[in-house]
């Protein structure tokens, strides 16, 4: 669990280093996180309002009655526009998250190397906006696959419980979600984060996709 070689006598845990850095440079971190947070808020509120407006137009009466009348599949088909806006909102928020992540990584590198002539921590994104959007979208696609895997795990656990007739306590739902996130994030760390730690070339991304799909 060490950033440096674990056999080294002065190894400090990564978590401690991160918290120490956070405390020492809290103003710089807050300054870096503020613009993406404001943008995320505006996007989330705007798209959430659009989703509510769409839902109000599509479902005018009682949703339970409508579902009984047209069936679950018909109801799901009606929900496609809302799901599309929801996916767009998630993609926007994820891209903003990546924007903040790149900013923080640049800030850490600048402070570690003591280079402050960069101007802005978001300069790498401004120089290669296309590359940034492609990487963020690729990562988002992997998260969508990870979400699917998570749902498979959750549904599997629930089905086993139903088959053996196990009573479901109130705290079970967050616990199962946590276990699923833990399993899926382990895969993310092994496959996706190493891609961050080296220049992720096009064939590298293709190989990563192949590994995830096969």
């Amino acid at each position: 669990m060490e950033l440096s070689d674990p056999s080294a006598p002065t190894a400090i845990s990564l978590w401690k280093q991160a918290v120490h850095f956070y405390g020492e440079h809290s103003a710089g971190v807050a300054k870096t996180l503020l613009p993406p947070t404001v943008v995320a808020y505006m996007i989330a509120i705007f798209l959430q309002d659009q989703m509510h407006a769409l839902y109000g137009r599509v479902v005018t009466g009682n949703s339970a009655l409508l579902m009984r009348r047209i069936g679950i599949l018909g109801f799901e088909r009606l929900m496609i526009p809302m799901q599309a806006v929801h996916l767009l909102k998630q993609w926007c928020l994820w891209t903003v998250y990546c924007f903040a992540l790149v900013g923080i990584c640049t800030l850490v590198a600048d402070l570690k190397n003591q280079t402050t002539d960069n101007g802005s921590v978001f300069t790498p994104i401004r120089e290669h906006p296309g590359r940034f959007l492609k990487s963020a979208t690729l990562f988002f696609g992997m998260l969508v696959i990870a979400f699917g895997m998570m749902m498979v795990i959750i549904i599997g656990i629930t089905q086993v419980q139903i088959r053996i007739g196990l009573a479901v306590p109130r705290w079970e739902s967050p616990l199962v979600a946590f276990i699923a996130i833990a399993l899926v994030s382990a895969v993310l760390v092994r496959w996706i984060l190493p891609c961050l730690s080296q220049p992720c070339k096009d064939y590298g991304s293709a190989e990563l996709w192949q590994r995830v799909i096969t």
Binding site: E2, A18, Y22, A40, K112, F178, S185, L188, V189
Partner: protein, 89 residues
């Protein structure tokens, strides 16, 4: 990336998932607990506070990724310099 670093990052991802969920829910839970009547202002304000708290709780993971990258870049530069020196030698 070594297994030690991967394990530390995995733990930080879990921490940020849990903290992110709690910070996103905390403002609305507080409003319900305090019996504050739902208005447009309370809805937008709760969302804004949730996002700010969530951004603050995500920072340690982002910093850790930045530290791993900085460490990796530094060790790569040292390795390259070492191999160049060996070639010259």
């Amino acid at each position: 990336m070594t297994d030690n670093r991967a394990l530390a990052l995995w733990l930080l991802i879990l921490e940020s998932e849990v903290a992110g969920y709690l910070t996103l829910m905390l403002p609305s839970w507080t409003l319900v607990y305090l019996n504050v009547p739902p208005t447009k202002f309370s809805y937008y304000a709760a969302d804004a506070i949730a996002l700010v708290l969530s951004a603050m709780s995500q920072a340690p993971l982002m910093i850790a990724v930045g530290l791993v990258l900085a460490h990796w870049t530094a060790s790569k530069t040292m390795n390259e310099a070492g191999s160049e020196m060996a070639q010259i030698g």
